[in-house]
């Protein structure tokens, strides 16, 4: 029926993890009690792994097709049918969702394997794997869904799983609060997403053109991506509330993306989300879920490219977030907090990429970031695991196993973790030939060269370069504070430090290698090398191309900027090396002493949380209290008043019924009774009495006759 290659097993990719989630969720506790941990993680790892195999199969099949035919559809059935509107339940496999699916199932499987070691001996071992599999299902639905509604199902599903997993150790109030914060912040974004969806549907099926003329196009009511892609140009001349339709719709979608992908102003949940187990931070809050916003913008490239305003907003928010989060990362001492802010910052880079219309670069950075950030998080998890274990063994219960000030010199105890962490640090800092170098440098260069945003691209370039310097610095700071110098804990604790189990280190090694070589899929054109990824994604983004414009600068300039990037990376490394190499440098302490206010402000994340607390949360609370007061006094008062009035009226009515109505009825009855009693006396039963009365009556009649008629 459709000219697409059919992929009949595509639905298995999301459904297999769902099956795993069901098995572990429904029977996990019994399995755990009876057979131990092994069957649980075997099922949980097998399902995403099978998804990966299926995804790889279709991916390879797709490479054999001609570029413009690289689309596969798995139409299951028509889900919603209302008049002309038809919403299928279908999965869509094209170069973009294919690349994403491969990455997610691959990294997801690795992190499941890692979790075997990390979650060992946890009471809720089965629950953890059930949630993780459920997350895989949601994320794959988000990616593979061929329409907005299916994407939204996944979008909500990942939010739910994120909430469940952040507050996984829910007995600690802090974790439960962090989960709640993530969930509520995401709800704020979901609101934007769903309104955007409705606005888009409405604008496609009708809407108003620039001169206020109402349009009717019921045949265009659709939420399927590939169909929207064809009719999207219709929106160019439309307006919603006086704003150009693409701008209005895309801003709403981007609003949804800021919550999911932790951008200003809705990024606050992500650092707190580190309360969850570290594999969760790696999978959900670094590699996959938080990139959903970037994926969405890339998926909707044909809409976002239409509006220079939106492109400026997206790239601007991305750039600001990149810089802002990087500065917060400078002074954090919790190793996971550093990585969290670095994630926020890197997501900012991705939005810089997709914002200016260089969609493939955003996706490129998304993929490389998934590798090196997962590696960093899992490395930090390995460190925390070891620290926690050592503290536990040496009966130290008051020191924080996540605080880098308590670490130092861990490299000699856990070499694999150290080397993989270092490799990922080089990648994220953008050292030459590392994966992060290619993706980040391409983002910066294309930002510099873009002619699509309202603000000159050089501004974005400058902000991005500044953030890159900070990134290199704080990432190596975390590396040096953790792995080099001397261990800052007690000798007893140090005695118990050792490398993590094999399930953890093997995953670290795989991701470490990918962090280094992952960049080969997108080598710069400047070097006259083939760029696989850009070529691969070309068919997806071709519809956006007519709207995009680029400045053409000389190769010399590009070479120069690339060299500058390298210098920046090395500078960051050098500063971190000097200051934190052996923890002997006095400069950081002096700096804090010299500028205590600056340090305090940055260390406390610019008091943004406090600001939100004081404005939005407190405002909401005040408003809620006001509503509560209004409810309790005015509404309840009115209700009680009406109850009182009704009560009184009923009383009156009851009195009236009892006395007046019943009185009349009873009175009539007793009157009749009295009359009867009186009259029965007349009825003597003696015939002669009656005859006397008859006689009397006759005489009276005669008398009357004589009186009247005589």
């Amino acid at each position: 029926m459709e000219p697409f290659a059919q992929a009949h097993l595509l639905w298995l990719i999301p459904v297999l993890p769902l099956l795993g989630a069901f098995i572990n969720g429904a029977f996990g506790l019994k399995i755990h009690r009876r057979y131990g941990e092994k069957p649980i993680h075997v099922v949980a790892i097998l399902m995403p792994a099978l998804s990966f195999v299926i995804a790889a199969y279709y991916f390879l099949q797709m490479t054999a097709l001609a570029p413009e035919q690289r689309q596969m559809l798995n139409h299951l059935y028509d889900w919603i049918r209302i008049g002309d509107f038809n919403l299928p339940l279908a999965f869509w496999f094209d170069p973009l969702s294919g690349a994403m699916t491969l990455m997610i199932t691959f990294v997801g499987t690795l992190i499941h394997i890692y979790s075997v070691g990390y979650m060992h001996k946890d009471d809720s071992y089965w629950r953890f794997f059930a949630y993780m599999n459920l997350f895989m299902f949601s994320m794959l639905t988000l990616i593979l869904g061929d329409n907005f509604v299916l994407m939204f199902v996944g979008w909500e599903g990942v939010g739910l799983c994120s909430y469940l997993l952040i507050s996984f150790w829910y007995r600690d109030l802090k974790n439960a609060g962090a989960g709640m914060k993530a969930f509520i912040t995401n709800r704020v974004g979901d609101f934007g997403f769903i309104i955007g969806m409705f606005a888009l549907l409405w604008a496609l099926g009708g809407g108003w053109n620039a001169s206020g003329y109402a349009l009717q196009r019921p045949e265009n009511l659709t939420l399927v991506f590939r169909e929207i892609k064809l009719i999207a140009p219709l929106l160019l001349n439309e307006q919603i509330f006086g704003i150009a339709a693409p701008t209005f719709i895309c801003l709403l979608f981007f609003w949804g993306a800021t919550a999911k992908s932790a951008q200003i102003p809705l990024y606050v949940w992500l650092p707190d989300a580190m309360a969850g187990p570290t594999p969760v931070s790696a999978l959900i809050h670094a590699a996959t879920m938080v990139t959903a916003g970037v994926y969405m913008v890339a998926r909707l490239n044909f809409l976002f490219a239409m509006s220079p305003v939106v492109m400026t907003v997206v790239a601007g928010v991305g750039a600001l977030t990149a810089l802002f989060a990087a500065t917060i990362g400078l002074f954090q001492t919790d190793i996971k907090k550093v990585l969290a802010y670095s994630t926020v910052s890197q997501l900012g880079y991705m939005f810089m990429g997709v914002g200016i219309g260089a969609y493939w670069v955003g996706i490129f950075h998304l993929l490389t970031h998934a590798f090196f950030k997962a590696c960093l998080f899992l490395g930090s998890g390995s460190v925390i695991h070891a620290m926690h274990h050592a503290y536990h063994k040496s009966n130290n219960h008051h020191d924080d196993p996540q605080d880098m000030r308590n670490m130092g010199g861990l490299g000699q105890y856990m070499p694999t973790t150290k080397w993989t962490y270092l490799a990922a640090c080089f990648a994220i800092a953008g050292f030459p030939f590392m994966s992060g170098f290619f993706s980040k440098d391409e983002i910066l260069w294309l930002n510099f060269a873009n002619a699509n945003t309202l603000i000159p691209g050089q501004v974005f370039w400058a902000i991005g370069a500044g953030a890159a310097l900070l990134t290199a610095f704080y990432m190596f700071r975390s590396y040096f504070m953790t792995f080099t110098g001397k261990f800052r804990g007690s000798a007893d604790t140090a005695h118990h430090l050792h490398e993590s189990p094999k399930s953890i280190t093997s995953v670290l090694k795989t991701l470490g290698v990918l962090s280094i070589i992952g960049g080969v899929i997108g080598l710069p054109k400047l070097w006259h090398l083939p760029n696989f990824l850009e070529h691969w994604l070309e068919p997806v983004f071709e519809t956006a191309q007519p709207y995009l414009h680029w400045h053409h600068y000389s190769h010399g300039l590009e070479w120069g900027l690339m060299a500058l990037s390298v210098v920046i990376a090395f500078t960051g490394f050098a500063i971190a090396y000097t200051l934190y190499k052996d923890a002997r440098s006095k400069v950081p302490a002096q700096f804090i002493q010299k500028y205590p206010a600056l340090h305090r402000v940055v260390y406390n994340k610019y008091y943004v949380d406090e600001f939100y607390q004081a404005t939005f949360i407190r405002g909401t609370m005040i408003f809620s209290n006001l509503c509560d007061w209004f409810d309790r006094t005015v509404v309840d008062g009115l209700v009680n008043l009406s109850a009182f009035v009704t009560h009184q009226f009923s009383k009156l009515n009851g009195w009236h019924d009892n006395k007046v109505i019943d009185g009349a009825v009873n009175g009539l009855a007793s009157l009749t009774g009295y009359c009867g009693q009186a009259l029965r006396k007349v009825q003597t039963g003696r015939i002669q009495t009656y005859l006397y009365v008859l006689l009397g009556g006759g005489l009276v009649l005669i008398l009357i006759r004589f009186v009247i008629f005589s």
Binding site: Q683, T684, G685, R686, I687, Q688, L691, Y692, L695
Partner: protein, 104 residues
């Protein structure tokens, strides 16, 4: 003087007879006495009917009426005597002032 019998004479006799019957009914407590009074009153009425038939109308309707009344009186007397006998059997008296059982 010659006394010619006219209508008034009959009427006066009938009135007297009726009054006697009435007094009899009103004063007697014996049920048989009541029946006697009724017979007197019926015959007073018969006298009136005959007298009017003789002096006012010259057809036979008054006479026929009187005959009917006589037949009626005979039937009535028979039924009444039966009732009186029944009362006597159950109550051992025929005092009308004491037979007030139906009142309650």
């Amino acid at each position: 003087m010659t006394l010619t019998l006219g209508l008034p004479h009959f009427l006066v006799v009938a009135a007297l007879l009726f009054s006697l019957g009435l007094v009899c009914i009103l004063s007697r407590r014996n049920a048989i006495g009541l029946l006697l009074g009724i017979e007197l009153m019926l015959n007073a009425a018969n006298i009136n009917l005959i007298a009017f038939a003789r002096f006012v109308e010259s057809d036979l309707s008054g006479h026929v009426f009187a005959l009917f009344v006589m037949v009626l009186a005979a039937a009535e007397a028979a039924i009444a005597m039966a009732i009186v006998l029944a009362i006597f059997r159950s109550m051992k008296h025929i005092d009308v002032n004491l037979t007030v059982n139906l009142k309650e």
